[in-house]
Symmetry: C2
């Protein structure tokens, strides 16, 4: 498919691409210790093996008693209860509470049998070692966390597809679930092409540039929960490129190629990706800036991406396309949206209608809130992204944004 015969909008491209490869296909599952599962995608439904809490607990420091023994009690007309002991922390409350009796309990301590409420220490007054005055009436259940109040036994607590946060780690361990089944991290092959590209440790001769894309993409893939695997710099020579691409295809769950920056190098990328298998190249050219010369395809179950060679375009498209594709491939369900930062645009941003623009902006604090300063620059200048804190999206139906308008900044 020759380049740019028809440009596709980024949203439409993502939809068509996603229809062509299954979620979590070749990506396996693995069982890992729960305490090291932060950020991993859960691959099983977790049911509660027992209620939580597993016994009724005091929610305050105070006296466990029968609520009805306190009815009508006030500071001037206290109820008097027999103090029959204390429930030590970490121990079973062996002694039941009978009518007219009270047991000292600590926050988190077990509620003894017979007790239906806890009166806070502040609302009591010990009279002597064996008696306590209660100055306030307690309703049944007051200051008590009942067994199963957090979760009931058998509750479906966590569904497969969620990404584990600190609270899920804690919740699983509270139930004694010390291992958990997660999806393997999707393996992402990254191939950098271009006769002008040399490794970072090389001293470029005139006409040569150091490889940036392998490393910005690897960083982004890592951050998105994937496992980047670098296949190095491939010369613009078709059979060598084909061979490297085939190897990458056979060893990974996604193949990403960054093209050399010339049009012929981009065409070669499309040809090589198309040759990996059916259905091949699905999208060639996006109505977006930066990132127009983007290729999206699928071979078998493996998604393929051809990124523009220039580092800003490559990173923007990776962020818009590869990050969601990795989530799909890695079994993650759509998540809560990323947060946005409301800011006042500090300068006009021109844009062509019919094209989605992603404009890097730097955020500056002002007395009136955040100001978003567009970082202009040709799209191959990597330091334009270094100077930026996030993007402003100018939708395809807009012809630019005016200085002073409120925008939602997507942080990097």
């Amino acid at each position: 498919m020759p380049e740019f015969l028809r440009l596709t909008s980024p949203g439409e491209a993502l939809r068509r691409w996603f229809q062509a490869f299954p979620p979590a296909p070749s990506v396996g599952k693995e069982r890992v210790p729960t305490e090291s599962a932060l950020g991993r995608v859960l691959a099983e439904t977790v049911m509660a093996p027992h209620p939580l809490p597993s016994f009724p607990r005091a929610n305050v420091d105070g006296y466990a008693l029968r609520a009805e023994d306190t009815y009508g009690a006030t500071a001037s007309m206290p109820a008097y209860l027999r103090l029959i002991g204390e429930v030590p922390m970490g121990a079973s409350a062996d002694k039941p509470v009978g009518p007219g009796e009270a047991l000292l309990v600590h926050t988190g301590g077990m509620i003894p049998e017979g007790a239906t409420a806890v009166v806070m220490l502040e609302d009591t007054q010990p009279v002597q070692t064996s008696e306590v005055e209660v100055h306030r009436a307690a309703a049944p259940g007051q200051n008590v966390i009942r067994a199963g109040e957090d979760v009931e036994q058998g509750d479906a607590l966590l569904e497969g597809g969620i990404r584990l946060r600190p609270q899920e780690i804690g919740g699983l361990l509270a139930l004694g679930l010390t291992t958990v089944e997660v999806y393997a991290r999707p393996r992402v092959a990254i191939l950098s092409t271009g006769d002008e590209v040399v490794p970072p440790q090389a001293v470029p001769r005139p006409g040569q540039v150091r490889d940036i894309n392998s490393y910005t993409l690897a960083s982004l893939v890592t951050r998105a929960g994937g496992e980047p695997r670098l296949y190095g710099i491939i010369p613009d020579e078709k059979s060598t490129f084909q061979e490297a691409a085939r190897r990458a295809y056979s060893e990974n769950d996604m193949v990403v190629v960054t093209a050399g920056s010339s049009a012929s190098a981009r065409d070669m990328s499309a040809e090589v990706l198309a040759g990996l298998g059916e259905p091949g190249v699905l999208i060639h050219g996006l109505s977006i800036k930066p990132g127009k010369p983007t290729i999206l395809g699928v071979a078998g179950k493996i998604p393929l991406v051809g990124l523009p060679g220039n580092p800003v375009s490559a990173l923007v498209i990776a962020w818009l396309m590869i990050v969601p594709a990795l989530a799909r491939l890695g079994g993650a369900k759509p998540e809560a949206p990323a947060g946005l930062i409301r800011a006042k645009l500090a300068a006009n941003v021109p844009s062509e209608s019919g094209r989605d623009d992603y404009v890097p902006v730097r955020l500056e604090a002002t007395p009136e809130g955040w100001s978003a300063e567009p970082v202009f620059g040709k799209s191959n200048l990597i330091f334009s992204l270094v100077r930026a804190d996030g993007f402003v999206h100018v939708p395809a139906d807009a012809t630019g944004l005016s200085a002073g308008s409120l925008v939602d900044v997507q942080p990097f």
Copy 2:
């Protein structure tokens, strides 16, 4: 200092605490490979060792030429230039361009000496192998990225204190900077106390609960760029607790203790932390919900934290206090703000004036945008946080928020 004599607002507490320990004090520096420095905090100022790009480059596929040779050119009155060759990708442009001459260049290719502009292929027509028609005039500099346009030699590119993102990794490698000096990850000791607490792999007897806090806190510390170090479960026995705390203090950059849930256990935490060194406990009790029984202190240069034992309070306070303290300790400068999600509150949220409330909410997509459903529940129910996507902050001067009002949700 006895508990709750005076409650401090969270903002004031953070300010006073931060004044008492230096940024990046005992935390060392280390030199690491740039490609594995994602998320680390830069500990040096990076200057550009050479300009970027290091040679003038074509920004399009086209012909490098002298701009003045194209003045007045149109499709009907083209300029005719002598085609003297091609600049191959990755090679030096050896042949200078003289008056009336043009050289074929590819995007990213080197601009030859003498050329001042590039005319896009689309605006030209090859006449024969040695001549090209130019249909459009080019201004000097057009479609050329000049040497140093991204960065000039000696520019201060990155300042110490920034957290390295994919674009900084790429920018550093583009300049051949294959290693970089970063601050060591702050080591955070986590001690869990409470006679009722048992390890996650244990089967709790009645009255016992499994340790949650060690693992939620370790996860949060990891995510914030620190190195969590678990000191296990310490019984509520003062000399054992003191010994463990002293060892943790001598081996780490921050000490975090989660108290047993009873008031006496919390008092013991305060006493043990105060005994570690001067100035000792600075704050005991915050005007916040959840998290009122929080202790903040400093011993020498080491910040100390006593967290409430209940897992929700512990996690909320860790998120509000420990995460920023880790940034300070790890040498990170204040960053761009975290993004927020605007949502419509689905239910009334009551709150007491004079107290900062952090209410967990679940986000639901609706045709009108996001709806934030408060997740109510006693603050020791860890699964209330599992069910939530973020927090809504009710400031101290508000007495609650009404259903239907617009709120900014802070995602977890």
